[in-house]
Symmetry: C2
Subunit: 292 residues, 2 copies
Amino acid sequence: MELKRIGFIGTGIMGEAMAAHLMEAGYEVSVYNRTKAKADRLVEKGAKWCEDPQKCAEDQDVVISIVGYPRDVEEVYLGSQGILKGAKKGAYLIDMTTSSPALAERIFKEAEKLGFHSMDAPVTGGDTGAKAGTLTILAGGRKEDFDAVLPVFQAMGKNIRYMGPAGAGQKTKLCNQIAIAGALSGACEALTYARACGLEVDQVLEAISSGAAGSFQLSNVAAKGAGGDWAPGFMLKHFIKDMKLSRESSNSCGLSLDVLRQVLKEAESLEQQGQGDLGTQTLLNYYWDWSK
Amino acid sequence: MELKRIGFIGTGIMGEAMAAHLMEAGYEVSVYNRTKAKADRLVEKGAKWCEDPQKCAEDQDVVISIVGYPRDVEEVYLGSQGILKGAKKGAYLIDMTTSSPALAERIFKEAEKLGFHSMDAPVTGGDTGAKAGTLTILAGGRKEDFDAVLPVFQAMGKNIRYMGPAGAGQKTKLCNQIAIAGALSGACEALTYARACGLEVDQVLEAISSGAAGSFQLSNVAAKGAGGDWAPGFMLKHFIKDMKLSRESSNSCGLSLDVLRQVLKEAESLEQQGQGDLGTQTLLNYYWDWSK
């Protein structure tokens, strides 16, 4: 079966860029977003506007969602005007939100009962990756469903990975966020110590970035903050959401990840000070007032 | 003044390789080590054996030390048969041990009073870097002294950095170790979660290593442990020493680095279980019994 028609739910910064790539690749795209104005540019380009997720799912070969929080995923899938109400038998339903593995498993089971193919496929690479069409896509679900929708993924990303059964995409994304929490905090602590003890931060970065201390977070995130740039590549409030999901999911596997918990605690205290919309590099400010 | 004669104190795995490179570069090298047998190979190659640090420092243009702990540095420099007793006026004294910034400053002052040039110049790159002559050397002290001994450093390393006044080399090395603590713990928590929740660890590494979660510690250290290899690139007990120095020095700058403290606590609990001689990747075992 050739997949031609796609319903796309959630046209925020990420979703808008992803849906645009699908249209460029020749798919017929219908869109829904809670705030209609954010879908205007896609509609101008020829996407069909739909009034709710249910209508956006009707008669589509594939339905893609990328929304905010797990509660939004739940509403969009299982709500009274949700995807599962509208989708046609045999449709591929793909949630690309970073969300709960347990919810992905639940949706998979519900969808399967109704004769749909369900996948979780969160992404990494941020808005830059979404715009460039170079996202990493981490997919969970049935392997044959992954193979069937691979051309759809290829229109939006470059590094496309099948990770295992339903929930495995979400779990892999959370691995990514857990590793980031540690690397980011280590980088922020190191640069804060450098500054507090009188070293030149730029020289320290040059000296240590390419060795055993090296990380993307040190060179590209903490370094940005140390240079006085607090603009978000990735907003602190979204990172908090992901760390909470990571804590919840790791707890449910019987783990207590103490560094993750510590970094989450620090991030929440900064959010309470009104820094949630800054980039994650604001973690630097937990230890030291970098505006000094 | 051409520097020709070097006294080298501490011929462990690192020191032996570094002294050998100095001999290959044409320097006349005298050696001292607490355990004499560890200097045998260098003596066979033509190094002159000395009975104590004082004698090893006598009549040398440069004296280099790379020993174990700050207390060893103190003994070797300030002890009754120490370097400061033996060195000739105008000699360059370089401590390459990873040690306390405060001690480096103290030695600098003492050495200066006596008419010596003192530097702290700890290294990164491990025994592999020492053997290959590709160490990173992080130097603190007077800039003119750094310029004078640069050819000596170039015989042992590749990435050679002047970081600032006395203690700045040690402080930069501690920045490196603080960043490692965070990155390593994040990587270990991520891979432990991956394994505990049923993902294929190798596939997760492939999927996330090249993006925002990427780090040397994830790809080269934690990954090694997850593959069942616990052999030390860097021994846990030495990392504990460095983290304690980092904690002490950051506290003295008025900082409390909570992720560093957490990782140190975890590492110490593993050391108490007899894992101090394993590689730092054994941090994986803090959360999960990887032998299962």
